[in-house]
Symmetry: D3
């Protein structure tokens, strides 16, 4: 029973590391599917797949998890949700159980008859990509959310600066809600 | 004068049925264009075209409206709005009047010189796809909004469960408004 | 067991009509999937879906085959072959057997576990879209290949002229085979 | 050092005109890149590239800025942000400095090693496409924000009516926030 | 009557220059639409739009044709031919007559009711992009086919080397015709 | 200096294996970029990325090449060639030298300033994907071209049958060359 763990890993945080270990406790090996693989340079998806790949490799290398035990595969978004499971099947060798927390991902695989489980994330209210990005923007401690090897990689390449720049605006006025004008 | 009625039919509700009858009172036959045909599995567009096609057929069959009187044609969204009327023309045999309530649809056809009319929906504040989806999620009576044959089809295939699952979230924290951080 | 017959119908010829009757002899009803639905204005796919839809309706109306007995659904090509069966599933209500003569179509459905049969076309060396297009271009009798209602529709709208124009060229020289230059 | 000024110009307003003059004070010539070139008929991007091209030509002609001094090039959005700089390079002849106020545009060019500067817009809280669209919808004076030749062009072609129609709605009920239902 | 001349200009050769002059003899000004604008780095379309834009500007500048007299607009290919005229309309300000030699282009515009004329190219058997590419690959004199300013630009940037590299192959065997194997 | 080896691996044959060893003799580690990653089910690209990934892993496992020494990354084709290097950069962590035999790949990377080398394939006239596919179709010995673990994988999953089916045709007549009709 080959497990496929799907996440966006923006970035790979301590909760993800916990989940990888949890799955490897129950299975011999693991495929890590990196969702929204082609997205980058947005607040929701700041990092490229190449960058996320490096983060995951560094984090698992640091934990002495052998590369013989897992594969990392980029999975792009589909033009239409109904096509997404087929995209996964064309990229990922035979998997038989999916670990994901995304309601849409879970529903799409269930409709195709797959076994789906939630990813048991550790302290989800803290260890999340969204909380990481919030802390980066508001200048709080974001490093404690990440495996130290990932934090170092981000800092070394100044990737957190990208998030701050993307969040910046030079507009002196408030965003207008057009729906309230009429 | 062949009429083309355009809607998304997510799902086909009593207001849509009223409109079909209204148009067939004024025209011999009707083309039903199903917009956003390739979208599905989202809160705004939960059902596939295949599912919506079945709903429309069941609803009109129940009303003894003969299939000789209408055609149902899926119409995908365009990459760019300026291309959308051409997409309709490549899929729909010569039509000469458009019935739609979507401001963009109406504008695009008008700019190409077509005659456009609103769809006279019945009790729009109640009979709407949005209200249907709201009731499904909040556990209220959604069946009364639909022709009974459509409600049965949804229930039989547990399609309302899809909406509930898509609306669910496992996030313990509130969504962050990044624009308020800086 | 709902049968799905897939073809491009460029145009709908006597062989196709024979096949529709053959299938309706064995099944109560039929879904006609029109492949490469968004292609048009090429030598291989000269007609739009809207035009092909009209041809099929006219041919089957002339044969007194009731519209209660069949549905016509446009099916676009997929960006990647692995996605195509999912596209069909998102557009076509539950079908359980596929009739097609295209090797790729047959293979793709077989890999997904579907029952697939060839379309029993009548006198295939004559009744084919390719032979039709050849006759149009070389000025031979193309009408005898088509149901008369289809031939009339094409002539009335001068659609055969489109094929002749697309086949024309104003180039006074022969096409160069670059691979032979080096 | 050929400067490339990138904006969406929805529409071309007095702030843009000020910026063009500012850049032409410092450089011999200028390339004007029109971003989101294929978008139109939305509240954020109401005008087509063809319309925006006419606006810019009229505005600069009125100011006696010779067409020998600038080029106008449409630049579509990329499917993925990482591809956007390559799209610009495939459309725009060698430029060496970018003027833009969009944080994403600036970041993407900086990562590729380009020199990037902000566009020095004049009275940005007033002269902005967003303020223009707000005034059109709420019936306030929008003409004073535009070069008079642009205002005339919009009025002559009744393009402001497009914005009003797109902002209209026939829905009698409030938009539902689904995230608050569960 | 604003004329729109459509070509691919791979590269802009003496025949194109002759055509521009021919059209400007009959009209005050001209829009030059550069087709397949996003294609490059193939034997059929070796040059980017940015490169073709430079070629056209250099050729017309050399002929003292003022930039006040013409506009150059890139026109991408459409996903589906039926959408192509709409793409042109979204990019090109109101034109009323099309000059082109491509049978498909002519047909598509005629079906939409436009006036279409062939481009009167000079000595077409010699002055053609195909002949240019053939000469580059076989080492014959290609410069005499081009305005000297275009030939200089290509040579200066070694763009003809790109064609030679693209035509090269490291395969020691002949291309197999699979259709002959079965 | 991290090397990136790019091929389509349809399938991974003895020549590819030789090349991997050649590169690992010169570098500590290697990234294997699988081109046309999303293509499959055609004569030129019969296998999915998932299948090619399995082939490569089996071949290198058999050779006792540790997974610590290499990464395998799928690389899709670009819509436009000018975007392809950016796609590689968004998927592949910092590489500094490219090994490829495809003229287009080499040219595109060279234009972006990368160091590019040919892949030193062993007996290229025999060990090639094209020769493999030819032998499968004509019933000759194709297994000797592949590492035995790859041949076993193909046979076990009957993947060679896919090639034979795709090459089949049910057409009783010869393909018409339309260009010779006019």
């Amino acid at each position: 029973m080959m497990p496929l763990m799907i996440g966006r890993f923006q970035p790979f945080h301590k909760g993800h590391l916990y989940a990888v270990k949890y799955i490897l406790d129950r299975h011999k090996s693991l495929i890590i599917g990196v969702g929204s693989a082609f997205e980058s340079h947005t607040l929701k998806n700041p990092f490229t797949f190449a960058e996320r790949l490096e983060m995951i490799l560094r984090a698992l290398d640091s934990e002495k998890i052998s590369r013989e035990q897992y594969l990392i595969i980029p999975i792009p978004d589909a033009d239409y949700h109904m096509l997404w499971v087929s995209i996964v099947k064309m990229l990922v060798p035979r998997f038989s159980i999916i670990y994901s927390n995304d309601p849409l991902t879970k529903r799409l695989f269930k409709e195709e008859g797959y076994k789906v489980e939630g990813i048991p994330l550790y302290s989800r209210e803290i260890y999340s990509g969204e909380e990481f990005r919030r802390r980066v923007i508001s200048g709080e401690n974001w490093k404690e959310l990440l495996p130290s090897s990932v934090a170092e990689y981000i800092e070394m390449n100044k990737l957190h600066k990208r998030i701050i720049e993307l969040a910046s605006t030079d507009k002196p006025y408030k965003k207008i809600d057009f729906t309230k004008l009429i």
